[in-house]
Amino acid sequence: MTIKWTAAILSVCICFAVATGVRAQYTTNGKLSVHVQNVFNGAPLMLNDRAYGLTAGDSIFISAYKFYVSNIRLVNAEGKEVEEPESYHLVNEARSSSKTFDIDVPEGRYISMRFMIGVDSLHNVSGAQTDALDPVNAMFWDWNTGYIMAKLEGRRNDPEQTEFSFHIGGFAGANNTLRWVTLRFATPITIKAGFSTEMVLKTDVAEWFKTPNMIYLDKTPVVTMEGADAVRIADNYADMFSLNHVE
């Protein structure tokens, strides 16, 4: 008799476990809290009131700086990747809340991370999007469909205060400005359920203007459509990220 009861109760328990199995997976997630810090040649970035010198000789003020970080993946020692679902983050220097975001990551030990600067081609051809990808964020070209992957605007520190404007986009063929970034952790990080791992992700805006392609603002002050100039700048900023601090 009791055996039968135990069997019945057990079967109920198993059913419950199966039914909630999917949810159970989520409960073993920890948090990775990403803080973005933007600098110019190592000096903190300040919009509008601080002049920064360029290798090419100019000096500039920066008035707007925005970029997409998307498709974030963490890679474990075996090379297996875990991907953040719906991974689209718009970082806007003028909006401090946009410079911190949390990612749910399954428990484990990870040796590196990968992400894309920009918005993958699929989401450039899939119609009306929302949240970070909402076209109201003014990171969307309506006259030649596609997202602006990264944006930098400002003026030269010269008597005319000539403005410069870089809206970098293009997602297909030779005009593709999507760039993958891989960052290795100095020591592997461990993500644990119930804990938050903090990370400082640094970008250096000076990289936009140099290596491999020197950008001279007198010659190229405006890049607001896809094409060779946009690709050259994307090649420049592809290595502007570094990891500052992980704990």
Partner: protein, 366 residues
């Protein structure tokens, strides 16, 4: 004895019952949708549309009606003077009749002819040069174009969100009152996507409907059409959606057509092959609206072309037609006019009714 057996059965059935319950719990019933799904109707012989009303944008009556209200709402422009419907008029098959190039805010003129709107779900890209790759994001462009509606999408969302009449329409369409650009754009796509023009005489003849029959002249015209025109203006949509240069002398030298988008020299002066449905309503013709009459279009095909490097090879030979053949071809083109479409009640401007309670003039009525 009997009761013992009963107890036994119960003991085995119970877990099963619980199990079933659990599964029901694990898959909660779908949240009741505000409304039953509508259908997009089109002839069996047509291919599947490129843009489908699937789970990405379920077609509903309320969604369609929200889209219609937005389409005819002048507040979508900076100063409240221009709606989508100002340039896309139903009696003109949603083109802008008698306007060679678009006529927008503060009487500003654009450089291109307003195309008609129909059968958009089959169209792989939008605008004369294919600048826009998806029906849902298409409306952002006129809203933000300085010579069209000159407003920002963000402001449009704010204006719509601040209007109590829209709250009702959003709730009906989406189940709650939240307003965002995605919901607006998908609703506009529903309204525009429903604009299917497939009830011309040509369509009825092709469907072998009772009483539908070409005259001799129209039938002759169809043969000429298939020989001379159909390679680009492909049936049944009367375009193959490619970009081509049909030998027009450039009018706006700065408008290089498809090359604006691709930056390829080989695409200079190429424009999307337009549909030839509803020509009676959509004049003037061509990307810059240079011709008011179909006769002029035929004169162009019969005459000397502007021979640039990108002119389509099919334009090398001039079109030779006898006077009768010309009449027959025009008669056939006449069978592509869809009167039911331009009179379809569903596409009429009803903003006066749907938004009335919130319009200032409604206070004037006593």
């Amino acid at each position: 004895m009997w009761s013992k057996k009963f107890v036994r059965i119960v003991k085995f059935v119970m877990p099963c019952f619980l199990l079933a319950l659990l599964f029901i719990y694990a898959c909660p019933p779908e949240i009741a949708r505000p409304e039953k799904q509508w259908q997009l109707h089109y002839p069996d012989s047509w291919s599947e549309p490129v843009y489908k009303f699937d789970k990405n944008n379920k077609l509903t009556k309320a969604g369609f009606e929200l889209g219609r209200t937005l389409f005819y709402d002048r507040r979508l422009s900076r100063n409240g003077t221009i709606s989508c419907g100002s340039c896309h008029q139903q009696f003109a098959a949603f083109a802008h009749i008698d306007h060679p190039t678009s006529h927008g805010i503060d009487n500003k003129l654009g450089t291109r002819n307003t195309p008609p709107l129909f059968n958009l779900n089959w169209q792989p890209a939008f605008f004369w040069d294919g600048a826009v790759n998806h029906l849902e994001v298409q409306p952002i462009s006129p809203m933000q174009n300085p010579v069209e509606m000159d407003e920002t999408l963000a402001n449009v969302v704010d204006k719509v969100a601040g209007d109590t009449a829209y709250k009702r329409l959003f709730k009906a369409a989406y189940g709650d009152e939240k307003v965002n650009s995605q919901r607006m754009l998908k609703a506009l796509a529903q309204f525009m996507g429903m604009m299917v023009s497939c009830n011309s005489k040509y369509d009825k003849v092709m469907r072998k409907e009772i009483g539908a029959e070409f005259t001799q002249s129209e039938a002759n015209g169809l043969v000429i059409f298939r020989n001379k025109c159909a390679s680009c203006h492909k049936e049944p949509l009367f375009t193959d959606y490619t970009y081509r240069n049909n030998g027009l002398t450039p009018k706006f030298k700065t408008d290089s057509g498809r090359a604006v988008i691709t930056k390829q020299p080989g695409d200079i002066y190429k424009f999307r092959v337009p549909s030839l449905r509803n020509l009676k309503y959509t004049w003037p013709y061509m990307h810059d609206g240079r011709f008011n009459e179909l006769e002029q279009v035929l004169d162009h095909y019969a005459g000397e072309k502007f021979r640039s490097a990108t002119m389509d090879p099919a334009m090398q030979m001039r079109l030779y037609l006898t006077a009768t053949e010309r009449k027959d071809l025009l008669a056939f083109l006449g069978t592509l006019n869809d009167k039911e479409f331009v009179k379809d009640e569903r596409f009429k401007d009803l903003t006066g009714q749907t938004l009335q309670s919130d319009h200032p003039h409604s206070f004037d009525k006593k």
